[in-house]
């Protein structure tokens, strides 16, 4: 009997100590994590607009249920950015989508995701047309561009989107790329159709309604 109590006490001590350590580090890091998130969000928003855009943070004001930003050049509104999220294959994918005044996607940026590395996580794969042998010669510069999000540029959110899972975007010839954009099609990541669908569904679910609401409110 006394041994059982001894074991229980030892286990309890370890658990209580672990609990205290986690609670303490959570509370001391919480603010910085939040600040870090906001900083990343701000940077992502500035990247979905063309450079030189003045960005207005609407900070959760009506009429939308999600965070959005308005981009202006001089006094003219050139577009909006929406903070979206959707359940991916193994967690929530958070991302920012920029829409111009004609309802076409200007840019997209993934904020956070926990998809399978090597499969779904390739939604953040760098856009690289260079081969290994070029890289030996000149070195590769990383400019933060990612091919998966780039293929959404020019896609209209007022029409339904379709997904083609035959060939990935970087392997498509330029003429087909233009055809894809014209027919509102994006290519899926091989082996990660769920992640691809999650991003497309997140856009279809939220953006058209929000876009219409903003445009309606301004008229």
């Amino acid at each position: 009997m006394s041994e059982i109590i001894k074991l229980a006490v030892a286990l309890a001590v370890v658990c209580i100590f672990s609990g205290i350590v986690i609670a303490f580090s959570h509370s001391s890091f919480e603010q910085q994590i939040e600040a870090q998130k906001l900083r990343e969000e701000k940077e992502a928003v500035s990247q979905v607009f063309p450079s030189g855009t003045r960005i207005l943070d609407t900070a959760g004001s009506a009429p939308l249920p999600i965070r959005y930003w308005i981009g202006r050049k001089e006094t003219k509104t050139i577009g909006y950015a929406f903070a979206l999220e959707n359940q991916g294959h193994s967690g929530i994918i958070r991302y920012i989508v920029g829409i111009d005044t004609l309802g076409r996607i200007m840019g997209m940026k993934i904020l956070s995701q926990s998809e399978t590395p090597g499969l779904g996580a390739r939604i953040e794969e760098p856009a690289s047309e260079k081969s290994l042998w070029n890289a030996f010669g000149g070195g590769v510069h990383k400019d933060g561009r990612t091919w998966f999000t780039e293929q959404f540029n020019g896609i209209s959110v007022s029409k339904p989107l379709s997904i083609s899972s035959a060939v990935e975007w970087p392997s498509l010839p330029d003429t087909i790329k233009m055809e894809f954009t014209g027919s509102n099609t994006v290519s899926a990541i091989t082996g990660a159709t769920v992640s691809t669908r999650a991003i497309v569904a997140g856009i279809e679910k939220t953006v058209p309604a929000c876009y219409a609401a903003i445009r309606g409110a301004q008229r």
């Binding site: 001894k6 074991l7 030892a10 286990l11 370890v14 658990c15 672990s18 350590v21 986690i22 580090s25 959570h26 890091f29 910085q32 994590i33 870090q36 900083r39 990343e40 995701q113 926990s114 998809e115 399978t116 590395p117 090597g118 499969l119 996580a121 794969e125 760098p126 690289s128 260079k130 081969s131 290994l132 070029n134 890289a135 590769v140 091989t190 082996g191």
Partner: protein, 199 residues
Amino acid sequence: MIAEELKRGVVGENPIFALALGLCPALAITTSVTNALGMGVAVIFVLTGSNIIISSVRKWIPDKVRIPCYITIIATFVTVVDLWMKAHAPVLNRQLGIFVPLIVVNCIILARAESYASQNNVRKSAIDGIAIGAGFALSLVAIAAVREVLGNNRLFGLTVIPGFRPMLVFAVAPGGFFTVAALLAIINYLRLKKERSRQ
């Protein structure tokens, strides 16, 4: 001594090719060399840290409840590291963030806590963590190099042979099994050959 330990971790007790532990992350991560390196570095770090902690509390933990205690301690350590990276090291978090939570469920960490750190002093356990971690990292890179070239026609995310259509099966899970099995067979063949020549 350190060189010997490293050799033991990379060759003699290689987590993947000798102990066959931690195969789940090895299959999931090894689709690209960059990922393999990221996971490898994260494992070296967490394994060293958890070995140090387990070894320093080993005398206070009753034998019968050691496994739940180790799991709790390792999970706590990993959670704190994860939170710290999110708060103070955003660049590191971007690179390793997706791997660190995966490590909690990595059986190598528990295996080393149970079979080494619980019986050896802190210094030895730290070296063991680095050595086994390095063995794990190198194995991941070896598997990933095969899979990335054959499955994606890429290495470090760069095209190897322009215009070549890769064998996609190597990029998905079955290809992972094929690669691990083939490498394991080659390594066992070489090992047996060496042992026989010694006799």
